[in-house]
Subunit: 314 residues, 2 copies
């Protein structure tokens, strides 16, 4: 049994390789829900959806997010009303949000609904939200011009303002009282190997690690935990990791990633382009394993997955 | 100032003529909300939307309901999930449902949201829901085969089961504690004329009349109330009036319509085809005014509106 900790798009890309490298039934994915947002009354879980759609091969790989063959008619019409319309709401995607929202309103837990959605899409791997509780990644930015601090939802920072403001602070609101979703700790404890997908350590993996008991469980099993750096040559392949890591006290480099996870990983997979960082990483008592981490498509993702699985062999 | 009591499609068609016969700013439309339904957590108001879209000339006049150029991508995707998908949910229409639902969740009243939606569509007439409270038209049918009574939401009876079951009883659930929306009684009291649109007397006009104080207000001003029969040759132009009227103790004929409203209308506009019913209608102490009531398009609707307005002249 393999457990993967995942954010959205970068993680999903890797997972598309992992499900081709081993039987999907052997995989449990624990997904960040700190990006979840309620808009127009809809409970939107961007990372859960990215992972689900991608594992169903229904994602739009050109656009990089959302469903293939998506349309945006509802969003076009929403623009008529006095509501924010910066969130990219696809018509097909809306069905998922509506189903999730109405099931939650009926009293179902997010983990139950997530399983129902995965089943509806025929996903073979088990997908778990990190928690059934509400945890929200908030970003305190410095507003351009005024220099004033503004406390934003991650999606407002990332999508609405396109991650252009200097970041002062990141908080996982609600995390103090959140519990891991049913099955999360069990999955970690009984895993043969645990993979941290190449996701933003602050916005994607950070919230998962901050849930009570998860980091502690990983620390107990550090001999079976491998992480993949989301950075190549000190820059993220996608997303705002470079703009968020400094606010979390992390250097924007493969060494900064090793630093973020040093208490519970035995190996960090880095890109061949970052081989010069190996001494720095090993000084943190983390093994460094260079590989090709850039995934242009499924074949590269599968090759990377095989490399990681080899590192997890006893 | 002219007040119109309206259901959905038939009323909307007539109103498209009315707004061309007099200044829309002189018109207040009081709309049935007994058909409102919550689906997937969305507050859907079919009659309010039909009236709004039609007055904005944004309706699909071929299909007979919903928005022109509508797509149904979200509905197609909903079919993947274990939820009912019999309700025709358009992608553009969804924006209205989302806006309404989220405004109501914020604490806005339906009448406020209705005004906001009308404004967003540039509708010149004032549109009021009959009530801000929850009133639901329920239809007790006799299930084919078993003969068992089943208590259905009007939309389940009408859309899901296509009005094919024998109707035993109609109830307006919640009507006992409902109040007219702000402005409804004032509009009736200060109107120069009041028109009952050619709508189903049981499913569309019935719920409005059942709200505390509305029928009583109309009775006080019966000298200025005219109704238009939705029936031609004892059959509705559209919809299930013929299948619902008997359960309300009404004959399916222009005379049955006169009977339903006899306590507060002075004139019933009937189709030329129903001139033979005049004596029967006048026996109920209601004037009968034959006209062309079938509206194939806006010109006929405008002509009918002018006829009705003439009947309202002092």
């Amino acid at each position: 049994m393999i457990v993967a900790l995942a954010g959205g798009v970068g993680a999903a890309k890797f997972l598309q390789g992992l499900v081709r490298a081993i039987d999907p039934a052997e995989i449990t994915v624990i997904v960040n829900t700190g990006d979840d947002i309620t808009l127009y009354g809809l409970h939107i879980s961007p990372d859960l959806d990215s992972v689900t759609y991608t594992l169903a091969d229904a994602n739009d790989s050109d656009r990089g997010w959302g469903l293939a063959h998506e349309t945006f008619r509802c969003l076009e019409h929403l623009a008529r009303y006095p509501v924010p319309s910066w969130f990219q709401l696809g018509d097909g995607d809306l069905a998922t949000h509506l189903f999730r929202t109405s099931r939650l309103a009926e009293g179902a837990r997010l983990s139950e609904v997530t399983a129902e959605i995965a089943e509806a899409w025929g996903v073979g791997a088990r997908i778990l939200p990190m928690t059934d509780d509400k945890v929200t990644t908030r970003v305190v930015i410095e507003e351009a011009g005024t220099g004033r601090g503004m406390d934003l939802h991650f999606q407002e920072y990332f999508v609405e303002r396109q991650a252009q403001d200097p970041v002062r602070e990141i908080n996982y609101e609600g995390v103090e009282v959140a519990d891991p979703a049913p099955g999360v700790i069990d999955a970690i404890e009984s895993a043969d190997g645990i993979i941290l997908c190449p996701s933003n350590p602050v916005a994607s993996i950070g919230p998962i690690l901050a849930i009570d008991g998860i980091r502690e469980a990983l620390q107990q099993f550090s001999n079976k935990v491998v992480a993949i750096s989301p950075l190549i040559r000190d820059a993220p392949v996608k997303g705002p990791a470079d703009r968020m890591m400094p606010a979390a006290g992390l250097e924007v480099s493969a060494a900064g990633i090793a630093d973020a996870y040093r208490d519970f990983i035995h190996t960090l997979v880095i890109d061949f382009a970052d081989e010069s960082k190996v001494p720095e990483i090993e000084a943190l008592e983390v093994e460094a394993a260079p590989a090709q981490t850039l995934m242009r498509g499924v074949p590269q993702a599968k090759a990377l997955a095989k490399t990681v699985l080899r590192l997890l062999e006893p």
